[in-house]
């Protein structure tokens, strides 16, 4: 039940895109088509889970014993960058189908703030390893939900007669704001 709570808090109530406003660059950048948003979502789920696992271990087994907690920003960036490179090399050779499906989004995610944020937040909340895993899964599914929904809306908006001064990003931001309002409705669900 506790893990369930962590998952839903990350998935809906504290949705990383619509409530926390992290990783907005990719939210607007790759949400013009449903296909690209799904590719990005898959890559985020994949990278976020693995990188938060590795950074949790590095923080708790390497930085804490040496009292080097202040180095976590530098180490996490280093770890995530190296990890994504490694994953890319591995997937290119072993699972080329998945590699092609994720395409350019895999290396792009290295610089996605959500990945780093989840590594930090899992530590700030003092989660155990299992809790941190469930948390990062919840966040990445929440990211996928928000970006795919947003892509659906933007595909419809591309056909709609929008006033000239709202076309493009202005209407996208307004839409994101309304979605954010809608997600606020989840607050208090399950007593969280």
């Amino acid at each position: 039940m506790e893990l369930f709570g962590i998952f839903f808090a990350a998935f809906l109530i504290n949705n990383i895109l619509l409530i926390r406003f992290i990783a907005l660059c990719s939210f607007f950048g790759v949400s013009t088509k449903i296909d690209t948003s799904i590719g990005m979502s898959l890559a985020v789920i994949f990278v976020m889970t693995i990188s938060s696992a590795v950074s949790w271990m590095i923080y708790n087994f390497l930085l804490t014993p040496f009292h080097l907690e202040f180095l976590r920003t530098a180490t996490f960036i280093l770890t995530i960058a190296a990890l994504v490179q490694l994953e890319e090399l591995y997937m290119k050779k072993m699972v080329p189908g998945l590699y092609r499906a994720m395409g350019i989004y895999l290396p792009l995610i290295t610089t996605n703030c959500a990945i780093l944020a989840v590594a930090f937040l899992a530590i700030d909340y003092r989660y155990s390893f299992v809790q941190a895993m469930v948390y990062s899964l919840g966040v990445s599914f929440g990211y996928s939900l928000a970006i795919v929904l947003f892509a659906y809306i933007r595909e419809r908006m591309a056909l709609a007669p929008i006033p000239k001064w709202f076309q493009g990003y202005p209407i996208a931001f307004i839409t994101a704001a309304l979605m954010s309002l809608a997600f606020l409705g989840f607050t208090g669900m399950f007593g969280l």
Binding site: L63, L71, L78
Partner: protein
């Protein structure tokens, strides 16, 4: 404290570097160097007109022999010649650059309307709603779906009709697919003449609907019998006959729907 920080971070850097270096060797994929060379010869626009998923995919299939050297549509004869030289095969003779042509000549003011269309302003949407208010069920709707889809900026809209810039057009076929009424086709670039109408209505009905439509009078068939043929109430031109003079047919066409193909 500073020393441990330096050692820990330095060690981590070395471990990751070693791991990546090792992995790069371990997961190395042997790639045919000819793919990169063939890719360099291609236009790199990834238009997809050849049927492959982008230029890279085309290059891979070219090396495997699945596609011919003339397969690149947007590259035209120049790229075909370069690829033929690279692959060591004879370049095919008589390869002609293609270009898009619009088979409708009715400008915005010439189109007769039966209703005002006020829906979504795209051709795809207007075509769904009873011909977008136009009397002619075959002609150009004028909302510029072809103009929007063209990746080479070769189409501009003039008086509600797309005008194609033959110098920019690479015959990728995106506008052909985008037009809900199929009035755009690819014809040989060096061809000077085309039938600017797609209406299969009977002559009398076409006359009612449009001042510049083909009324299937068969005068062109008489003037240039080998080139034109009226099929299903529409003059159809044989685009392989480029050398026959058909100026008489252009001259005599009563509705002037056989036009000089200008860019």
């Amino acid at each position: 404290m500073i020393l441990t920080a330096i050692i820990v971070l330095g060690l981590m850097g070395f471990i990751f570097a070693g791991l990546l270096g090792y992995a790069a060797g371990y997961f190395k994929i042997e790639e045919d160097p000819r793919i990169a060379q063939a890719l360099a010869l291609l236009p790199g626009t990834n238009c997809g007109a050849c049927g492959s998923a982008g230029c890279r995919n085309f290059a891979e299939r070219l090396i495997k022999g699945e596609v011919p050297v003339t397969g690149c549509v947007s590259g035209g004869p120049d790229v075909a010649a370069a690829l033929a030289k690279f692959m060591g095969v004879e370049a095919l003779q008589g390869l002609c650059k293609m270009t898009a042509a619009v088979h409708c000549g009715a400008s915005e003011s010439q189109r007769r309307k039966k209703a005002n269309y006020s829906g979504v302003r795209t051709c795809a949407a207007a075509d769904l709603v009873d011909s977008g208010g136009l009397r002619c069920g075959y002609g150009c709707l004028g909302y510029g779906d072809c103009f929007l889809v063209c990746p080479f900026d070769a189409i501009r809209m003039k008086d509600g009709l797309p005008v194609i810039d033959h110098n920019k057009c690479t015959a990728c076929g995106k506008c052909v697919a985008a037009c809900p009424r199929q009035i755009i086709s690819l014809i040989p670039c060096d061809l000077g003449v085309l039938v600017a109408c797609s209406s299969h209505d009977t002559g009398a009905n076409t006359r009612k609907n449009c001042p510049v439509g083909c009324i299937a009078c068969k005068i062109c068939e008489r003037e240039a019998p080998n080139v034109f043929k009226v099929v299903d109430n529409l003059a159809v031109m044989d685009y392989s006959k480029t050398d026959i003079d058909c100026s008489a047919a252009i001259e005599k066409c009563p509705t002037k729907c056989i036009v000089i193909n200008k860019s």
